[in-house]
């Protein structure tokens, strides 16, 4: 599936929720089920300091694809991280670099990406793309 297809899939999944409660309960579930993050990767350089919640992001190359893993101390942030990873994980640097994340807005979570830097997600997206660019440049 392309990035766009995954995003559309997520948008469809979210269409069934009748109210914000259901939606957030699902995000909390996603957060709770996020793949465990290796504690040895909780380094300062992997840390994204939001004002409110902290995010750790790690990226590795495997067979020409980027493998992301991430964590946060807040569950809702983790839930959204799970969605982001689902979209760009195991993809080529070029794909990651050019990814758009417009689905976040479409599923009504835009307030979580406000420029307040509160949860670190805006920076996380930036960093994901930066990884894409970095690995892409290295390959050349």
């Amino acid at each position: 599936m392309t990035i766009e297809e995954v995003q559309n899939q997520i948008i469809e999944e979210f269409e069934i929720f009748e109210d914000w409660m259901d939606k957030y309960e699902y995000i909390i579930e996603l957060g709770n089920n996020l793949e465990p993050y290796d504690d040895k990767n909780k380094t300062t350089s992997n840390l994204i300091q939001g004002c409110q919640s902290r995010v750790w992001l790690n990226a590795e190359m495997k067979d020409g694809k980027i493998i992301f893993s991430a964590d946060s101390d807040a569950i809702i942030t983790k839930g959204i991280i799970a969605l982001l990873i689902r979209v760009v994980n195991n993809r080529t640097p070029e794909e990651v670099m050019n990814a758009d994340f417009s689905f976040i807005e479409k599923i009504g979570l835009r307030e979580n990406l406000s420029p307040t830097r509160a949860n670190g997600l805006v920076s996380m997206i930036k960093n994901m793309k930066a990884y894409g660019l970095a690995f892409y440049s290295k390959e050349k």
Binding site: W20, M21, Y24, E25, I28, C51, Q52, S53, R54, D73, A74, I75, I76, T77, N112, A118, N119
Partner: protein
């Protein structure tokens, strides 16, 4: 008796619906809402009076100037300063503290001198002193807090010495709501000849302030936290001390004469008000003070005391909720954490319920560090809050617990 329902109607924003729910605004520590009297004053000022002050000889300019200087008088009386020369309008508490840090630093601070700030200060009462200390080679010394969030006055006394030039402490800590023993802090500092700045950003809207009685050398607060506009604040300074300080910013209105060879500065308070003052902001502070005086400061204090007592009682009934800062001397703000639930998660869900609280470090990272936490949920009250607001908060917290349980 104070009629909160009537007061509430003075604040148009409180009838807003958030996600279809009635707004429960408990983020008053960050900023207070504005009564219609203040909002209408802005409108009438800009529609009938507005003109630059101190500058023209024409009618509107004189009228604007008069309103501005009357606002200064209103503030002077509100905090019982000796003279309007002691009232400097700034853009807020942060600027007021930066002003003192710079001007006091330039005039009085030498290498090796010490500045004392407390463990529980807002960043705005830490960073300006750090910057000044770095520039001057002075030392920033921390007054430690006790486990309950109160300042440790015994240790404070031991820290004071002949190198101590200034002590900067909040009247009420913004992250904990604790009322510090400023009178004692001031008296002790004066014994070693140190000056004292009291950051009143979280006190002025809740407690009756008397700067002569406190005997502080500087007192600061922000308009937007006392029901007035953003972009305006007040620095009180004792006339004698202000006279000694070198000016902070240079520009129009703060000078007597300017030439490239020699510039003479104006007298107080103008010496510290460079550029076009935010005269409309100042007028809005006066209007807000008038509003508060009409209700009665004692009435306000009583009502807010009732609120915090009620909130403390109700919150403590919630299992897994821990109040941060358990001193008995508090006003209008309660910080707490929920076992196993991140403050950000809690805040997000409360928001969806129409309840506005603030979560995080509250610009007080060293305070969080003191308690070994990364943040709290803070509910902070104002005159228009009611016990029902607190009941709704409690219901909201229970919902949060359910969702993350």
């Amino acid at each position: 008796m104070i009629n909160i329902q009537k007061i509430k109607q003075d604040f148009p924003i409180l009838s807003q619906k958030i996600y279809g729910k009635e707004l429960v605004y408990l983020d008053n520590g960050a900023t207070t809402q504005k009564p219609i009297q203040v909002i209408e004053k802005l409108k009438s000022f800009y529609s009938e009076i507005n003109s630059n002050i101190h500058r023209g000889v024409h009618y509107l300019s004189n009228k604007s100037t008069e309103e501005y200087e009357n606002a200064r008088k209103t503030v002077k009386e509100f905090i019982n300063a000796k003279s309007t020369k002691e009232i400097i309008f700034t853009k807020g508490t942060t600027e007021a503290i930066n002003l003192v840090a710079f001007s006091f630093g330039e005039t009085f601070i030498n290498e090796g001198d010490e500045i004392l700030v407390s463990q529980t200060e807002h960043h705005s009462n830490i960073v300006p002193w750090q910057m000044m200390c770095k520039r001057k080679g002075a030392k920033l010394v921390v007054i430690p807090a006790k486990a309950n969030g109160e300042l440790d006055l015994e240790k404070y006394k031991l820290l004071l010495n002949s190198r101590t030039k200034l002590v900067a402490v909040a009247h009420v800590s913004n992250s904990l709501g604790i009322i510090n023993s400023v009178k004692e802090i001031i008296d002790e500092a004066h014994k070693v000849g140190a000056k004292v700045l009291i950051d009143g950003a979280q006190a002025i809207q809740h407690l009756k302030i008397d700067v002569q009685n406190l005997n502080c050398d500087f007192y600061t607060f922000s308009g937007h936290k006392i029901y007035a506009e953003t972009g305006i604040g007040v620095l009180f300074g004792k006339e004698e001390t202000l006279n000694q300080l070198s000016p902070y910013q240079g520009g129009g209105d703060m000078i007597k004469t300017v030439s490239f060879e020699k510039t003479e500065y104006a007298d107080l308070p103008f010496k510290f008000e460079a550029g076009t003052a935010n005269y409309v902001g100042a007028v809005s502070i006066a209007e807000a003070i008038k509003y508060l005086n009409n209700i009665g400061l004692q009435e306000i204090e009583n009502h807010e005391k009732e609120l915090i007592d009620y909130a403390t009682e109700k919150l403590l009934e919630i299992e897994g909720l821990k109040i941060i800062g358990t001193s008995k001397h508090k006003t209008s703000a309660i910080s707490f954490v929920l076992e196993g639930i991140h403050h950000y998660d809690a805040g997000l869900i409360l928001d969806k319920l129409g309840i506005a609280v603030r979560t995080g470090t509250h610009c007080a990272e060293p305070t969080m560090k003191h308690f070994g936490i990364t943040g709290t949920i803070r509910a902070s009250f104002a005159i228009y809050n009611t016990k029902e607001d607190i009941d709704k908060l409690v219901l909201g917290i229970n919902k949060v617990k359910l969702m993350f349980g």
